[in-house]
């Protein structure tokens, strides 16, 4: 379609049909966008949802419909991986939400803190995107087996007290490194939306700080804080690169199990297992999102 046809043509057709034609042409202009998403986002997920229900016979290599893979991933080691992933992402998301909120409030409330504020905000922008591989190696250099801090504590005779970077707890500590900045980035706009006049009005009416947050600040901030926490959860749940570089597959996490299933050339049907595991992730994220929209609607109605 020629972009020049977007409906501003000077033809003498009656106004009504010209308007309809223009609308149709404008709608045609969105075809590349919707087409692209259909092919590269919806098609792969759709294929996942269908092929997770296929099975390959180990002897004849015949394919058939089956729920074997789906049943397999809800039990045993795979069930542990889902629970591990859910536990890790829920814990780190909640911790990061609290810490990020505290940091954002501390920075915004600081008087004469414009430099501090710009520093923290740009640093958050960088660190929120500083995930994956470089992050894993930075932590290995710090508290890994031969890390700088590990050696320093060893010299002091303190030791890490049983803490290991290559464990679920270690992984959580690393995840906070990109989750806290992400929380700061997403929550600062909402905090800036809190008018100082509200605080002044509440102070003038004799309300305590607790009363202000209980009745004014809290209810206004609740939806954006819940939304941001959900985003952190999804982000931690999906993280693969950091976990792979740090713990290999010694910690039960779904993304690691998926990669293992895909790279296994020995086991026939492990490809389908990978698809079933991935479908499980999509379903879990979907449930979280449905819950999120429900909470958002509830809090919004309560605010009105």
């Amino acid at each position: 379609m020629e972009p020049g046809d977007l409906g501003l043509s000077t033809s003498t057709t009656p106004r009504r049909s010209r308007g309809r034609r223009a609308g149709l042409l404008a709608a045609l202009g969105t075809v590349p966008f919707f087409g692209y998403l259909a092919v590269f986002l919806l098609l792969p997920i759709g294929v996942l949802a269908v092929e997770a229900f296929r099975a390959t016979d180990p002897v004849t290599y015949q394919e058939s419909w089956s729920t074997d893979s789906i049943v397999a991933v809800t039990d045993g080691a795979y069930r542990r991986a889902y629970l591990g992933s859910l536990q890790l992402s829920a814990t780190t998301a909640l911790l990061a939400a609290v810490l990020g909120l505290a940091l954002a409030v501390a920075v915004l409330q600081a008087k004469r803190g414009r430099l501090l504020r710009r520093l923290v905000l740009t640093a958050s922008g960088v660190l929120a995107n500083f995930g994956g591989i470089p992050l894993a190696f930075a932590f290995i250099a710090t508290i890994g087996t031969s890390g700088v801090v590990t050696a320093l504590l060893g010299d002091l005779g303190v030791g890490l007290g049983g803490f290991s970077l290559y464990s679920m707890t270690g992984l959580g500590l690393v995840y906070l490194y990109f989750l806290v900045p992400l929380m700061v980035l997403t929550i600062v706009p909402a905090l800036e939306g809190l008018r100082p006049q509200w605080r002044e009005a509440s102070d003038n009416l004799g309300a305590s700080s607790w009363q202000y947050w209980r009745h004014v600040g809290g209810p206004v901030l609740a939806p954006p804080v819940i939304g941001a926490t959900m985003l952190l959860f999804a982000s931690a749940f999906a993280a693969y690169a950091t976990a792979r570089a740090l713990v290999g597959s010694s910690v039960p996490l779904v993304p690691l199990q998926i990669a293992d299933a895909l790279s296994s050339n020995v086991l026939v049907g492990s490809e389908n297992l990978g698809k079933a595991l991935a479908l499980g992730m999509v379903v879990l994220v979907g449930i979280v999102m449905v819950f999120y929209t429900w909470v958002q609607r509830r809090t919004q109605r309560w605010l009105q």
Binding site: P32, A106, N129, F137, I258
Partner: protein, 270 residues
């Protein structure tokens, strides 16, 4: 009195989180600048000549530039069109573009792998299969570009949306149209300059995203910059840390550049 009491927790929060964020960076610099107890820059100067670096980094950079170009070609006209003509589609487009933010990339790539497997399974010998194989050329894997465009969508959308909301595109484009400009000319001569900062912002974020992306590349089996770092980490741990430090510095530089551009523009407008 109450305000002063509140100050203490603020200092504690800033100090604890400040240490938490600074120590790994400081430790990485320390770790990667010492050899047998002596200060050295060999792990930094050795990066360009490290085996495989030039090839992997060059490939990632090419993929990043292609992703930026395709993302902008896809999103800019669509979003301008939505803003000017189809405001009712705005929320649909918004939800669809934000979807990749919550969808795990590893789930997406498993789906992409299944689709790519259709070529040998069902389409063998047809032109379609040849096209599928061409997309997976190891020297320049176009399939990565196509998937990265999806991953970059949320960032591109939010950057462009911020720009579009801050200007009155309708008036500007109508003025240009009534002065006789064609639609392509309006896009290049009016829309693009007005949205310059947003477009740069979207481009930089996409660049950083692609240069750091690991999951998709490793599952589809292609060699890029991040998969190269993981590969060398086993034999040269200090080199992998120095590359990590450098990539942090480069991202920081890019983002500072954006905020500098932003401020200059804001200063000019006000």
């Amino acid at each position: 009195m109450r305000r002063r009491g509140n100050g203490a927790w603020r200092v504690v929060v800033l100090a604890v989180l400040g240490l938490y964020f600074l120590i790994p960076i400081a430790a990485s610099v320390w770790y990667s600048s010492r050899s047998n107890g002596e200060l050295t820059a060999e792990f930094y100067t050795g990066i360009p000549s490290a085996p495989g670096f030039a090839e992997a980094f060059g490939r990632s950079l090419t993929l990043a530039v292609l992703t930026v170009v395709i993302s902008l070609l896809l999103m800019l006209p669509t979003m301008v069109l939505i803003d000017l003509r189809l405001p009712r589609l705005r929320s649909t487009v918004e939800i669809l573009t934000l979807l990749p933010l919550v969808l795990p990339p590893i789930a997406l790539v498993v789906g992409v792998r299944s689709v790519l497997a259709w070529a040998p399974d069902y389409f063998y010998g047809t032109p379609l299969a040849d096209a599928f194989f061409a997309l997976q050329e190891p020297s320049l894997p176009w399939i990565l570009v196509l998937v990265y465009v999806v991953l970059a969508l949320p960032f591109v959308y939010r950057a462009l949306d911020a720009g579009i909301r801050s200007v009155d595109l309708k008036t500007l484009t109508e003025a240009a149209r009534s002065l006789g400009a064609s639609w392509p000319r309006v896009l290049v001569g009016v829309v693009l300059p007005v949205l310059r900062t947003s477009v740069l912002n979207a481009a930089f974020l996409t660049l950083a995203l692609v240069l750091g992306e690991y999951t998709i590349a490793v599952i589809l089996g292609f060699q890029t910059f991040p998969t190269w770092i993981v590969e060398i980490a086993g034999s040269q741990p200090q080199l992998s840390v120095s590359v990590s430090v450098l990539s942090l510095v480069v991202t920081w530089g890019l983002l500072l550049l954006i905020s500098a551009l932003d401020r200059r523009r804001a200063g000019k407008d006000s």
